[in-house]
Subunit: 371 residues, 2 copies
């Protein structure tokens, strides 16, 4: 199949499309992150979307950046408060819209934005369209884990609050594909998140998904370990954790909140007495090593899976280091041809799934490109 | 209203009913934990349930314990593998059954067990019955948090994988009651777990629950802060987090898994080099202070809420320290008359709720004591 990715990759250097607006720290932080990335990858072309009058001086401040970077003027900005449906109807002039359209029209391989997640997902669905065979796209994140690769993939962390058995099967395939490309695992182990590992446990759609994923693991190129529990998300039992976007979003934020509480308590513990302050000075290297290992900025970026084109959603509060990590992730995915590989995997699997599955709602299943 | 608690409290010393069996470390660890507790509370009577021939020498090993402790011979043991329905039909001779029946017949105020959670919950529902007005009992835990009291209450963490709007309202009331008694908060702030804090977000039952909880916060003696997110579970925005047992169980295990991963990485970081090992020696006090703060053994025990009688579920893997903490929690709840207070609160609220609410399934709602 021919996709936007093929076109851009065939035409010359790798091109990334970056939304300069929508981050909590403003465009200067995003441009600074971009400059950090660009310094390491002088052969990559960047399309930067936002108000040119504001962006031009920011880009010029970073040596060499202007030479690899085209600014695409877009004066509208999607704010965190904007309702996704409003952006979809009235956002044609926004930097987010323009960023996605560069991928849509084949100019760039991957889009990156720090903006409003709901608006970015809806716009991505409308402008890039869903892959044939995918009913609900998902957001995947990399989660620090006990596995040798240091991270597990979890999806969906909030693209949609619902997921039926067939969606969960697609998440398993997309997550496995992402793990192969982002974590270099040849045969990822996939687990389906539940409240126990016994097969009789959990909600009806989970039991149905368990059967479907078992049947398609071979075709999907992954190993299915069955049900897993919350403790396995940072664990070593599987590499990919599949769940609906409601549960995944709450698990993600619970994990972040717990890590952040422990960090705060650790600082408190070390500030307690003169002796503990001295100890903390000596322990600084060790603590920094720990921090680097679980620093969410190191692997910043949720990836939207299931679209014609790859979109990386950076954390809204990301600083320059975080933005650079998100752009680096986008670069890695563009380099491995991830978008095409995923599309091919879903396409080849979709036929077998559609033959075998019994869709609960045949109308909405017939053409995955319509929502 | 008259309840089992009233009877036992009126008759003399406080009596706790303890299941000696079902813990991962065997009855010796449970008896050792009991001895730790008993040493601090010489006036409390203990009913210890299990095979007398095994338990007698264990009890005799701890000075003074035999004098406060009656052994109730029960030769059957509920294992972690036993299906709850099997235990319900065939478990009359088990220590778990005997432990609950001491609360049922008014001999003891609170029951404690380390055993199989599913079996303990089902047996508790069958032997103690649900409180009038409660359709689904819940399991509540204390979660380390940024609040001054050091812990938040979260429920349900796994009694039932479903919860409708009315169940969530009852969880809010029961959780607030638990926070008043276990955390000494006069007017707990209750949050309803969702994927965003905006009122239009989330599943239909959450929007309905939002309305119902808003309407009954005054009667329930709590402040309703509206929707909260996963990050608020260890946070300071609310004291009580209400969710269904599927989401709550996954959040709980994700939080535990994250904390445990960070602990492992911290040990790794400090074992890295001779200098870091030296630093860790100096930092030992600080690290122990941190560990004490988040040690799950310190607040070990999920509490079953919504039954005629209080049941504390200790972690299956609890050691003597963990068991002692669970028994201490049971003691605190018995001392404050928590069971009666909760029952009275639910009874007074139930009438107003039933008048105002529109049950989705009137048949199953008419009598909350039937499942």
């Amino acid at each position: 199949m021919t996709s936007a990715q093929d076109k851009s990759q065939a035409d010359g250097p790798l091109v990334l499309s970056i939304d300069a607006m929508g981050g909590d720290r403003g465009p200067a932080a995003i441009v600074a992150g971009l400059a950090l990335f660009a310094r390491k990858h002088r052969d990559v072309r960047i399309l930067l979307h936002g108000p040119e009058a504001d962006l031009r001086p920011m880009v010029d401040r970073h040596r060499g950046l202007a030479a690899q970077c085209d600014i695409r003027n877009a004066t509208g900005v999607v704010s965190m408060q904007d309702k996704p449906s409003h952006v979809m109807r009235n956002g044609q002039d926004t930097s987010m819209w323009s960023t996605l359209d560069s991928v849509r029209n084949g100019e760039a391989t991957v889009a990156v934005s720090c903006g409003n997640t709901g608006a970015l997902m809806l716009l991505s669905m409308v402008r890039l369209r869903k892959l044939p065979g995918v009913n609900r796209p998902a957001i995947a994140v990399l989660w620090p884990s006990r596995n040798p690769q240091g991270f597990n993939v979890m999806l969906d962390v909030g693209a949609d609050i619902r997921a039926d058995a067939e969606d969960l099967l697609k998440y398993a395939m997309m997550g496995a594909s992402y793990a192969r490309n982002a974590l270099a695992l040849t045969r990822p182990r996939v687990g389906l998140l539940n409240v126990g590992t016994e097969e009789h446990k959990g909600r009806a759609e989970l039991k149905a998904a368990h059967e479907m994923i078992t049947a398609h693991a071979e075709a999907g190129g992954f190993e299915f370990v069955g049900f897993c529990e919350g403790g396995d998300i940072p664990g070593s039992r599987c590499d990919v954790i599949v769940t609906d976007g409601f549960t995944g979003n709450i698990a993600l934020k619970t994990g972040e909140g717990t890590a952040s509480l422990i960090g705060a308590l650790l600082r408190e513990a070390f500030a307690y007495s003169p002796l503990s302050r001295l100890a903390s000075l000596l322990a600084l290297t060790s603590l920094k090593r720990l921090q680097a290992r679980i620093d969410p900025r190191r692997k910043n970026g949720g990836v939207f899976l299931g679209l014609n084109g790859t979109v990386v959603k950076s954390h809204g509060a990301a600083d320059a280091t975080g933005v650079a990590a998100a752009v680096e992730l986008a670069y890695d995915l563009a380099l491995t041809g991830f978008g095409d590989r995923l599309a091919a995997r879903i396409a080849s699997a979709a036929s077998s799934v559609e033959a075998a599955a019994e869709p609960q709602d045949p109308q909405s299943r017939k053409d995955g490109t319509n929502s």
